[in-house]
């Protein structure tokens, strides 16, 4: 994993319009953000398009980014990705065509692992977006309550409550399937 100090050096260069440094940031974070987006969108092309949108926004707004003592650069990236995802859901068609929802197993780097937990992914995909987001950020991306609160623009208590409700809802979905 790249040290935060190395990442800050890349950011400083990218802020001076160094596209190569920005490309290195893309190499470090694109996989994480793609996992986050595809897990919710269930459509590879859309996830790739949104990933592009996220990095375009990051490039254009990089000079507005200021390092903070208690937040990593990835927190800001996930914030941008989360808002982009929310905007996308607001503007998408009210009903999704059946062929737009793809079987994610074909895109998993480890299809066996995906198949093993397919029931969990399927149950999660039926939860409201905010529940999916908090579970993904907290347990799949392994982010802290603090970081998750910043990304979702809530306070820490709000995240704890949301997490509690999301787990309860997921448990109920899984119990219903049995």
């Amino acid at each position: 994993m790249t040290e935060e100090s190395e990442i800050q050096k890349l950011i400083s260069k990218a802020q001076q319009q160094d596209a190569a440094a920005f490309g290195q940031l893309y190499d470090i974070y694109s996989q994480q953000l793609f996992n986050f987006l595809l897990g919710k969108l269930a459509h590879k092309q859309t996830a790739e398009d949104l990933l592009q949108t996220v990095f375009v926004k990051v490039w254009s707004n990089l000079n507005k980014y200021q390092p903070q003592a208690n937040a990593k650069f990835s927190t800001w990236l996930f914030q941008v990705a989360n808002f982009t995802l929310i905007d996308h859901w607001r503007t998408r068609k009210p009903t999704v065509e059946i062929n737009e929802v793809e079987n994610l197993v074909q895109f998993a780097q480890n299809p066996k692992l995906y198949e093993e937990y397919k029931y969990l992914w399927a149950a999660m995909s039926q939860l409201p977006l905010s529940y999916q987001t908090v579970l993904t950020l907290r347990f799949k991306q392994d982010l802290s309550i603090d970081e998750t609160a910043k990304i979702m623009n809530k306070n820490k208590i709000g995240i704890r409550v949301l997490q509690h409700r999301a787990i309860a809802a997921l448990r109920k979905k899984l119990a219903d399937k049995l």
């Binding site: 040290e3 935060e4 100090s5 800050q8 050096k9 990218a14 802020q15 319009q17 596209a19 920005f22 490309g23 893309y26 190499d27 694109s30 996989q31 793609f34 996992n35 595809l38 897990g39 996830a47 790739e48 990933l51 592009q52 375009v56 490039w59 254009s60 707004n61 990089l62 000079n63 507005k64 980014y65 200021q66 390092p67 903070q68 003592a69 208690n70 800001w76 914030q79 941008v80 808002f83 994610l104 895109f107 998993a108 780097q109 480890n110 692992l113 093993e116 937990y117 969990l120 992914w121 579970l135 347990f139 799949k140 392994d142 704890r160 409550v161 997490q163 509690h164 787990i167 448990r171």
Partner: protein
């Protein structure tokens, strides 16, 4: 609250963590597409911050681009007022409002430094040879106010910037901590050159009460400068 008494569903959390996986991303192709768009100028690069007409630099955080600072006519006039002036309290309120905005630590450090510089500039005028010899109740009051405001602004700036520098050091962000170090060094240097003139004023004052007040402010002034120097030494 009842929520926080109950333990999360540990087994479900365990499953969620175990189900972490990467999806296939053609990083090469998607990156090439992005960098091509940047090279062709299809996307605007990092936008530079804007300088306001009052010389203060405002940098808005991502997501807060909709916040607009409206400076009223009174505030605009008060911006040039000095300690001892009638509108100086309004100027201080304006500074307080600006510092309470959700700005980054770096931007606030810049603003605080500019406030200290403005106070010191006023102090230089009051402690110049011509002004220092003038005595009248109004002049004496103004001089004392200027010394007091200089000391207070220096103290506030050193405390705030030291705290931020310590936070960045704790998280291993040495680059940012070093920048705050440089700011503290600049403040300490500015303070050092003013201490002698304030001491001279205290020595020249024939009023016992006034001399005691100036000396008291000078002590706090000196403490703030020493605090900045200690913080710089600790971090090196």
């Amino acid at each position: 609250m009842k929520f926080f008494d109950s333990q999360p569903d540990d087994k479900l959390v365990y499953l969620l963590k175990q189900s972490r996986l990467d999806f296939k991303l053609d990083q090469k192709t998607t990156k090439a597409r992005l960098l091509c768009a940047i090279a062709q100028g299809d996307i605007d690069g990092p936008i530079q911050p804007v300088q306001t007409r009052h010389g203060l630099i405002f940098k808005f955080e991502v997501g807060l681009a909709g916040i607009v600072v409206v400076v009223s006519a009174t505030f605009a006039t008060a911006a040039t007022s000095l300690p001892g002036d009638k509108l100086f309290a309004v100027n201080k309120l304006r500074e307080k409002i600006i510092l309470s905005l959700p700005l980054s630590a770096q931007t606030k450090a810049q603003i605080q430094t500019q406030i200290v510089e403005a106070r010191f500039k006023a102090l230089d005028v009051e402690t110049s040879e011509k002004s220092a010899t003038a005595t009248s109740p109004t002049t004496n009051h103004r001089r004392l106010e200027t010394i007091k405001e200089s000391e207070e602004s220096l103290n506030q700036a050193v405390n705030a910037i030291s705290a931020n520098q310590q936070d960045f050091e704790k998280t291993g962000n040495q680059q940012q901590a070093q920048k705050f170090n440089q700011t503290l060094s600049h403040l300490a240097q500015m303070a050092s050159t003013r201490e002698q003139t304030i001491q001279t004023l205290a020595n020249q004052s024939s009023d016992t009460v006034e001399r005691a007040e100036i000396t008291s402010h000078l002590d706090h002034f000196r403490s703030a400068r020493q605090k900045a120097e200690i913080q710089i030494n600790i971090s090196q």
